[in-house]
């Protein structure tokens, strides 16, 4: 078989395994970081440093009774978590994760396979990723409406609100870097910033970077925009009736999306997997992703969340005009 095909299959399996594991590990990190910021301990008893808490949570989720409410639409109720988890992983297929490498010939069966940096280097990479993450919002939307629960309905309504608000900002904020690079492929973005820290797009597009981060927080349903399942207001929003494995799939989807947004921010604005001095590219990307992930937890510990009307106000009246102005200025500069 073709070396690239084998490599791509290896990459697919790697991404699925690693990102699912990372989603679990993300919950552990989140609980630890939030605990430390609130002067607590976090999970500490299951395993060394509480690390096996992930396994304990997994066992709990897998062995829970699968409950479907009586009046729920059973088909859509079961489909919704799959949409969230699947779209989160499909979005990752067009995201470059690590530099391309070749498996040494000495290994049996898979020796010589070329593992590409990205599973599918489609030439509309950014559009594909953003579109897939947007399609992932069908998960919460359908889940909330299918479960015959008023909190679920409120959650879906908020999903629609949030979706309509941030999607414009996401699109417009990445438009300016796209104009600079002249391509939609994330590989091209990476290659455009290969010249070290000075060539990162963040220095040319700081406003676009901030706008993209804000929109990314809204896209991944993180504080300060965690409207969909804010417990103090709407119990759990769209996941009110979910439990066990179905709930776990929503969770994995949410954390995969956090990683996707972190990787996107790193690749589009912060140099991707280009080497920084003595730091090799894969480690550089990992460090950037870890920083953006930590930023999400940090912000969650620090800031209160905002109301839905404030989110709409912010996105439509502040962020969108800013993004448009940014695009106009970028366009003028590029023309000159």
């Amino acid at each position: 078989m073709d070396a690239l095909v084998i490599g791509t299959i290896i990459k697919v399996v790697l991404v699925l395994l690693v990102v699912s594991a990372l989603a679990g590990f993300g919950t552990y990190i989140e609980r630890k970081v939030l605990a430390f910021m609130q002067r607590r301990l976090g999970p500490a008893h299951v395993g060394p440093f509480g690390l096996l808490q992930i396994a304990a949570d997994g066992i709990k989720l897998f062995t829970k009774e699968d409950i479907i409410p009586q009046n729920a639409n059973k088909f859509i109720f079961s489909l919704a978590p799959v949409i969230t988890a699947a779209t989160a992983f499909i979005a990752l297929s067009a995201v470059p994760l690590f530099p391309t490498f070749i498996i040494p010939e000495s290994l049996p069966l898979i020796g010589g396979a070329i593992v590409p940096s990205v599973i599918a280097d489609v030439n509309i990479g950014i559009l594909f990723v953003l579109g897939m993450m947007a399609a992932g919002l069908y998960g919460p939307l359908l889940a909330g409406m299918a479960q015959a629960n008023k909190w679920g309905i409120l959650g879906s309504a908020r999903t629609a609100i949030q979706f309509l608000s941030y999607e414009v900002v996401t699109g417009l904020s990445v438009l300016a870097p796209i104009m600079l690079v002249g391509s939609l492929s994330l590989i091209d973005f990476n290659n455009a910033q290969i010249g070290g820290v000075g060539s990162w797009i963040i220095w040319q597009q700081p406003i676009a970077f901030v706008l993209f981060l804000i929109a990314g927080f809204a896209e991944t349903n993180r504080t300060p925009f965690d409207l969909l399942e804010h417990e103090a207001e709407i119990i759990s929003g769209y996941v009110t009736e979910y439990s066990g494995l179905r709930w776990g799939m929503f969770f994995i989807g949410e954390y995969s999306n956090m990683f996707t947004i972190s990787i996107l921010a790193a690749v589009i604005f912060c140099g991707g997997y280009g080497d920084i001095g003595f730091i090799p590219g894969w480690l550089a990307l990992l460090l950037k992703v870890v920083f953006f992930f930590f930023l999400m937890l940090w912000v969650r510990a620090s800031w209160p969340h905002i109301r839905p009307d404030q989110l709409m106000w912010l996105c439509w009246k502040v962020l969108m005009p800013l993004a448009v102005i940014n695009i106009v200025i970028t366009g003028i500069v590029v023309m000159i």
Binding site: F36, Q38, R39, R40, L41, W298, S302, K317
Partner: protein
């Protein structure tokens, strides 16, 4: 804030000096509201919040600023005034139990939960043959400990009283100090005594009000 308030009549509003906080005005329409958002976004308030949490994280991780008490393994000290399961004390010299069987605790118990039987032993001294406290009825009022002339029955600090049997704590021998740990028997400091950490816990009283 520091003006003297005369509490002669709390219902008359004229005599009370309320201090209004300066909350500013809420912007009612577009441009002032926008200016407020810009001011709040760019006035470092958001970053002050971020700095605070990262500082607390550093303190928790490196300076031992954790506030968690890992309860079953660590316990906070309780006050000597706390009234939990009773202890029966022994005489330090002879090791004999202090109770002289006078029956005052049984008499004063307002929930009738102490039951005792006494008899004369061979030296014609009172001996306690039966002594139980029904902890299903005890209200931990402390009268028994207060009335005891010999400081024989006192309240201990054993507040974790979940048990498989009602009788688990209530027999005389269970409450009596074990003879092998007689050296560690704590003398009851008496009602109104202060906590051992009272000096450390004391704080300067704010006198401004």
């Amino acid at each position: 804030m520091h003006e003297e308030i005369i509490h002669t009549n709390n219902t008359s509003k004229e005599k009370q000096n309320y201090t209004m906080l300066e909350l500013g005005s809420t912007p009612a329409y577009g441009w002032p509201a926008f200016k407020q958002v810009v001011k709040r976004s760019l006035s470092r308030e958001l970053f002050v919040g971020l700095w605070l949490t990262i500082k607390e994280m550093g303190k928790t991780l490196f300076l031992g600023g954790k506030h968690t008490t890992q309860y079953p393994f660590e316990k906070l000290p309780i006050s000597p005034r706390y009234r939990a399961i009773h202890n029966m004390l022994r005489l330090l010299e002879s090791g004999h139990y202090r109770c002289i069987g006078c029956g005052l605790c049984e008499k004063i118990c307002i929930s009738n939960c102490i039951a005792m039987e006494t008899r004369y032993d061979e030296n014609q001294r009172k001996e306690v043959s039966e002594y139980t406290i029904n902890f299903g009825r005890c209200i931990y009022c402390g009268y028994c400990a207060e009335v005891c002339p010999e400081l024989a029955i006192v309240h201990g600090g054993r507040y974790e009283t979940a048990s498989e049997q009602r009788a688990s704590f209530s027999l005389f021998d269970d409450m009596l100090t074990p003879i092998d740990v007689l050296k560690q028997q704590q003398e009851f400091a008496g009602f109104g005594s202060v906590s051992p950490n009272a000096d450390a816990a004391i704080k300067k009283t704010p006198l401004a009000y």
